[in-house]
């Protein structure tokens, strides 16, 4: 859909992996494993199955390597697979929950998960990550996907459009709406950033700017 003219740092390894070179595929896994795990966690609200999902993403990628033609960056293609895997997991989970509904949430809920975590003495980084992932979980799927791909995974608009198979204008529109809906959900974290200044929020992935 959007042929990417930029050089792909994974091009050589992907070509070898597509030809069945397991060492090349292993190199790709090591390079992208962290992104895959974080994608699965951020898209599932910290689901306990996130690590299994991350593994399944690579299994699907391996089995489909012959179909990777290099029209897009390898990581864009990998993210498209990730979205499909996660979507399938959610559909399956929804069917299971219809048959076996989860017990009702605790009365105090997640109104201020970060504050509660801090009071309990938990690691602040863990609390922030959980707070972000839970806020993301409250977005509709289409909005969550674009904002995770952009702000958590660091893909640019072209890559996001390619992964989602939508126009760049749609990416921009969904990004705007997603961030607007997240503002009240992330209120506790916004307050913490204001207090702690630059001590939080420096560990995010580097952005690729077009």
């Amino acid at each position: 859909m959007h042929d990417d003219p930029r050089p792909d740092p994974d091009a050589d390894q992907a070509r070898l992996a597509a030809a069945g070179d397991l060492e090349a595929f292993e190199a790709l896994v090591r390079r992208h494993e962290r992104a895959s795990v974080n994608m699965a966690r951020a898209m599932t609200g910290g689901d306990e199955d996130a690590e299994d999902l991350a593994q399944e993403i690579f299994v699907r990628a391996f089995r489909g390597m012959a179909r990777f033609r290099g029209d897009s960056q390898f990581r864009t293609w990998l993210h498209a697979i990730a979205l499909n895997v996660i979507r399938s997991h959610r559909s399956s989970r929804t069917r299971r929950l219809r048959l076996f509904p989860a017990p009702p949430a605790a009365a105090d809920g997640d109104a201020a998960p970060v504050d509660a975590a801090v009071e309990a003495g938990f690691d602040i980084r863990l609390a922030m990550r959980d707070g972000v992932d839970r806020a993301l979980a409250q977005l509709p799927d289409d909005l969550r996907a674009v904002v995770v791909l952009r702000d958590v995974q660091g893909l640019d608009y072209r890559e996001i459009a390619e992964a989602l198979q939508v126009p760049i204008g749609t990416v921009e529109s969904r990004l705007f709406r997603a961030r607007q809906r997240l503002k009240p959900l992330l209120a506790p974290l916004l307050g913490m950033r204001a207090v702690q200044g630059r001590s939080i929020g420096t560990a995010g992935p580097a952005l690729q700017v077009e």
Partner: protein, 166 residues
């Protein structure tokens, strides 16, 4: 409202550091007179900053080794988690088998066969030693129901069972 919609696009790009100088001037000009867009612009930047500051998690130990072990395993033919996918993929196969069975049944001398009132072919009892689920695909005696049940359950239905009764 159209101007605000344009501004929404500009402020999104601004939060991502990809707003060009011309659009920045237009955005500044608009937000100077639009309080709601000023607030929206601040929200875009603040939320993006929090999300980008989300502490990433490392892949668990031996993650790559587990992936390589998983890809070394042959794919499961009738994984229950993918049963819908396989059901749809096997529909044309099942349809082709049904047509073949109906064709063969139509050409078979049925004078000694028991009378039936249904268009479903009568199966003769077949003792099969192949219990693999995928063997149902090349078993000419398998009915459409057998194929579907095998797909849904992941187990080959007993080939010796005769589902047709007088």
């Amino acid at each position: 409202m159209d101007r605000c919609q344009n501004a929404h696009v500009w402020m999104t790009r601004d939060a991502d550091g990809v707003l060009d100088a011309r659009d920045r001037a237009l955005l500044d000009d608009h937000t100077a007179g639009c309080e709601s867009c000023r607030q929206a612009m601040a929200a875009q930047a603040a939320v993006a900053a929090v999300l980008r500051g989300r502490p990433p998690i490392d892949a668990p130990p031996f993650f790559t080794a587990r992936v390589l072990a998983a890809v070394a395993e042959p794919p499961s033919w009738f994984g229950l988690a993918e049963w819908r996918t396989w059901t749809w993929r096997l529909v044309p196969v099942a349809a082709a088998l049904f047509v073949i069975a109906a064709f063969v049944d139509g050409r078979t001398d049925r004078t000694s066969a028991p009378a039936t009132v249904s268009s479903t072919p009568v199966r003769t009892a077949v003792a099969s030693t192949d219990t693999r689920p995928e063997s149902v695909l090349w078993d000419a005696d398998a009915t459409q129901d057998q194929v579907l049940l095998t797909v849904l359950t992941g187990r080959r239905q007993a080939a010796s069972e005769d589902s047709r009764h007088e």
